[in-house]
Each structure stands twice: as C-alpha cells, then as structure tokens.
C-alpha cells in the first residue's frame, strides 16, 4: 500500500524497517524531521534514540554502537556532516559499519537551508583524513531513498565500511507516495569483530592505531583491497534513452529528476537527448558512463554546485567528447526549463 510521506520521514521509517535500532543525532535543518521521526519511533521498536550534544558526539556514539554490534546510524545536514568527518575517518580506519545520511543544504559555511549538492567532493573523496572511501548512495525519489537507506545498512555490514546517503533539502521535505516493500533478509558475514566482553573467546581490540609503519601499511592495504572489491561489485546507475542520444544529460539526485523532465521536453522537440544518473557516487560508474557518452556526441553535467561531479565525468570521458556544465549554487535548483535552454544552446552552437 502506498502512502504519502516526506523524504525525511519515509527514509527514517525505512531505516527502522532495515533493523536500525540505534540512532544518534543533533538538530539541523533541513533534516530535522528525520531526527524527530526517530525520536518517536525508536521507543516503539525497543531501540535507542539519543539527541547528542553535537554531531561529533553523535558519530562517535555510532562508532561505539557499531563496535558493540548494533545497527546504528546518524543523520545531519552539510555543516553537521563536516563535524562528523573525524568520526567517519575513525570508523573507516576501524573497519566498522555505519550509515550516515546527509540532507545537503547550501554552503560554504552556514550557507542556507535550501537544497544543494556542494558536498560531493567531501562525500566521495573521503572528507576526513587518511586513505579511505565511503560508499556514497544518491537517491532521486522518496521511494528510492527508502530502498537505498535499507541497502546502505546491508552494504555497511557486508563491507564493514561507512555508507553515506546524499539527499538534499528538497528531497527531504518533498512528499511522494511510497511503499515499504518487505525485503528478503540478506546473507551477512558474521560479526566476528564486535566487542561483547571476551567471555569464551580471545579478547578483541578495535583500533586504527598501528605505530609501526609496515603494520599500518598492511592495514591500509587490507582496506584498499576491500575498496577495490566494492568498486568491482557495487557500481549502480540508471540510464534513460541513451541508445540514440546525441546529448547525454548527467545528474544525480534532484538534478537527475529535473534532467529527466528536460529530456522529455527536448525529445518532444525532436532533440535526441538521454539521461545518465549515477546512483553510487562512490564507486562512480566510470566505465558505464564512458561507454554511454562515447556513443553520443556530447554530455551536459547538471549539478547544484559550482561543478564537482563534473570532475568524475571528465575522469570517465576524458577528452573523447565535449563536456558541458550547468550548475546553480546557493540553494538554487537548476530547473527543467533552464536545462532545456542550456541543451538547446549546445545543439545550436556546439554540435
């Protein structure tokens, strides 16, 4: 049965249904509904809700809960996610599972509370110190948000790695019909690393400190090998009408929605336009994107930023095809009309 819910509420419910029983968060707009939903629901399902003293505390609570074997998450919006970076680096360095939702808003600094995508670099390049990556998932509808947040918990457990979900102020607040589909329980590796007290076994240590250089390099290699497996196995993307496209619109999240709408308008006008939507921002679908764009004549990247994902598009396409960029900042969303205009300009002036 479908019900009308905001992105924030629906994703919170989905997290609960995915078995998340430990939530730690600090208020920040535009993700407050998520925290409030968790405050209401956790006591009903026998879970733990803590409004932490800061985002730093929240992520370290997640780390402790994960170390003890709990399914734990935190959510925030851009400035708060900046504060979590230290903890995310430790979680990655400890190889612990964690899910972190970023309902992105305008930046830099305090910015504003409108939707933005300025945290792409932070999300996909690490954000904190050291060599690590978060798995980064980018839903573009409320329904998909509910599914991806559930996948996020499984991915985090499967790889013992932090998983970030990038939503934005618009997706968090917008209402759409959603259906919570029962999911088959995924086969998960045993949690043979968690701290429970050493009764009946060797005692365990969870740490990222390796003072001897060869030891730390060896630990890093283990992490890197795991990340390579993730790159091999977990790439996700969606394509629309790319087979005969001259121009491929590339966007994620809210920008993918508007790009699809622009594509429909342009197709009605006889322009051969397709859409490529990365779902995993890390691992980024380099190969698939490169193949799609090579079949077309050019690509137009649409972002709510000064141009961040566009760098990954360059890495994928290199100089085989011209890449154009259209971005808005400050909480402004590129509208379908604007994307159509930009595409028309490319068709008339560049192709």
């Amino acid at each position: 049965m479908k019900q009308l819910m905001t992105g924030n509420d629906a994703m919170a419910e989905a997290a609960i249904q995915a078995g998340c029983r430990y939530y730690f968060g600090y208020p920040i707009t535009p993700q407050n509904e998520f925290t409030a939903y968790m405050a209401r629901r956790m006591p009903q399902v026998g879970g733990v809700f803590i409004q932490s003293e800061s985002e730093i505390a929240a992520i370290n609570m997640v780390m402790g809960a994960a170390a003890a074997g709990g399914r734990a998450m935190t959510s925030s919006s851009s400035p708060g996610i900046s504060l979590k970076q230290e903890g995310i680096s430790y979680i990655a360095g400890d190889q612990l599972p964690a899910v972190i939702l970023n309902v992105m808003r305008g930046g830099p600094g305090l910015g504003n509370i409108a939707p933005a995508q300025g945290d792409y670099f932070q999300a996909t390049r690490g954000g904190g110190h050291g060599d690590y990556r978060c798995i980064v998932l980018a839903p573009s509808t409320v329904q998909e948000g509910t599914e991806l947040i559930q996948d996020a918990f499984d991915l985090a457990d499967k790889y013992r790695n932090p998983v970030l979900i990038l939503s934005d102020g618009r997706m968090g607040q917008m209402m759409e019909p959603v259906e919570f589909k029962p999911r088959p329980k995924a086969e998960m590796p045993p949690k043979d690393y968690i701290l429970t007290g050493k009764k009946g076994r060797e005692r365990r240590i969870i740490r990222s400190l390796y003072l001897k250089e060869p030891e730390l390099e060896a630990w890093n290699k283990i992490i890197q090998e795991k990340l390579m497996k993730i790159e091999e196995n977990e790439v996700r993307y969606e394509t629309r009408m790319v087979e005969d496209a001259d121009l491929v619109l590339i966007g994620y999240g809210t920008c993918a929605r508007n790009s699809k709408e622009a594509m429909r308008t342009l197709r009605e006008k006889g322009r051969k336009v397709g859409v490529f939507r990365p779902i995993t921002l890390w691992p980024f679908p380099y190969t698939a994107l490169s193949e799609v764009v090579k079949k077309a004549r050019a690509a137009l990247v649409v972002e709510m930023s000064a141009g961040q994902m566009v760098e990954d598009v360059y890495l994928a396409v290199k100089d085989t095809r011209p890449i154009f960029f259209y971005g808005r900042m400050g909480g402004q969303v590129p509208s379908a009309t604007e994307i159509v205009q930009k595409a028309e300009k490319i068709f008339t002036e560049k192709l």
């Binding site: 803590i50 402790g64 003890a68 050493k198 240590i205 740490r207």
Partner: protein, 257 residues
C-alpha cells in the same frame, strides 16, 4: 574486598611503556584488580583514550576500542547502550577529557550513562611532549607556558569533579591520588566502588586520579610524587564529591535524622 598482592588476572604480565614514576601503570593495576574482584573481566569493554594510555589494551586484558581524542564518553555511550550487560569504562587523560573532550564527558555524565570514567589528571599533556593541560597549575611551566601558566592568558585549572558535581545525574564522583601507599589504597577503594556501582546498574560513576608525569615535569619520580601532594592536591582536593549510594544508605539507616 581484599588487597591483591599477586598479579591481577585482568592485567597482562608485561612491563609497560610508561616512564618510571608515572601514575598510569598504578591506575591500570587498580582497574584490573577491581575487575578481578568483581569477576567481570569477561564482560568488560574498555575505551582507550588518545594520550599516553592509548596502548592501554596492551596492559589491561579486556575487549577494547580506541576512541578518537576526547570522544571516549560518546563511544562508550554507544557501546553501553547496545550492551547494557557489559561493564564499560573510559580511561582518559586531562587533555583528552577536560580540553578536547569537555562536551562529551559533561553530556555523558549529564545523561547519567551507565559507564565508569577513570580520569587521570597529571596537569600536563604527556604524550605530545609536555604542553599545558586544562589542569595545569597557575605558574606551572610547560612547553606552551614557558613562563608559567598565567591566568590572564590561560585562565585557571579546570576542576573536573567539581564541575561534574554540579550535574544531577552522576551517581558517584571521587578524586583520589596514587602518590603514597595509603593514597593508593584509598584510590583502589574508589575505583572498586565505581565499578561496583556500575555492576549494580546505578548510573554514571567517575574517579579522578591525581597522577604524575615526572618526564614532562622535569622531576625525579619521588619529587614528582611529592609535588603532586604538595601542589596539585591544594588545587584539586581529594575526596568524595557525590555518592548517591552512601546518601541512600544514610537515609535508609536513618543516619540523616
């Protein structure tokens, strides 16, 4: 409770990396003895700090996680909420607890989290080479207060027990020292009590241990012990700042009336 002469089971029989005359080793031993006597080693989880005790897990034989600098109380909160049946403790230095981690300790204490914090106050940053700590005494010379700590520039030493005792939730707060055998016996009682209260699921318990850092104080071990008694204890008086268990006993036995 007995005074253990033999080697505690919860302590590895190894020599530590701590300097001669350092209080960390004594505090570790007291924790291990308390865990032994309570019989909880097998269900204990330690949270190591960033500081000289970062390698605590090389000495105390319990499941352990290493926290980020100052964040141990938040990490311990997550652990204890998932594993209420485990005995969870943080072990933190004064830079860890009273500077970078001030928010985390205050709020964990204020929520009355059911874990124990052992706070080792040596009035200096040991691991990084002797910089000023929030607990550095007025006029005390350190790497970063080469002319002595001046209240006009650095303020005054932070008193963690007194600060936490302004909160309603903490169940037990005591400050002890490890400078003399008699003081160590008192410290042992306090650490045992803190863990025992946790076993009894009473609430947040906190023991501050006035310690020494002969290396960075530039003193011999005996001089350091003496200095801690003569100078630190003046600023950080030993004693019980909160003991809801004793208050409860008093009211139950009518001693208050």
């Amino acid at each position: 409770m007995q005074t253990t002469k033999s080697h505690p089971k919860s302590l590895f029989p190894v020599s530590t990396h701590y300097c001669a005359g350092c209080g960390h080793g004594i505090a570790h031993r007291l924790i291990a003895e308390a865990l032994d006597e309570l019989g909880v080693q097998d269900r204990t989880i330690g949270v190591a700090p960033v500081g000289c005790a970062v390698l605590m897990y090389n000495y105390i034989d319990v499941d352990t996680i290493e926290a980020a600098h100052g964040r141990a109380p938040a990490t311990a909160t997550g652990l204890k909420r998932v594993r209420p049946d485990c005995i969870v403790f943080t072990y933190q230095g004064d830079g860890d607890l009273a500077a970078i981690g001030t928010a985390e300790i205050i709020h964990a204490a204020n929520r009355g989290e059911h874990f124990t914090t052992i706070f080792l106050n040596n009035a200096i940053y040991g691991m990084t080479g002797g910089q000023m700590a929030p607990t550095t005494l007025v006029d005390q010379k350190t790497e970063t207060t080469p002319y002595g700590r001046k209240p006009s520039n650095e303020g005054f030493p932070i008193k963690a027990c007194e600060m936490l005792a302004t909160l309603d939730a903490p169940y037990y707060i005591e400050r002890v020292s490890v400078a003399t055998p008699a003081k160590i016996r008192r410290a042992k009682k306090a650490i045992f009590k803190a863990f025992n209260y946790q076993v009894e699921e009473r609430g947040f318990t906190f023991v501050e241990v006035i310690s020494t850092c002969p290396t960075n104080w530039g003193m011999s071990p005996p001089d350091a012990m003496k200095w801690s008694v003569e100078h630190m204890e003046k600023v950080f008086p030993l004693g019980v700042f909160r003991d809801k268990g004793a208050e409860k006993d008093r009211t139950e036995t009518g001693a208050d009336k």
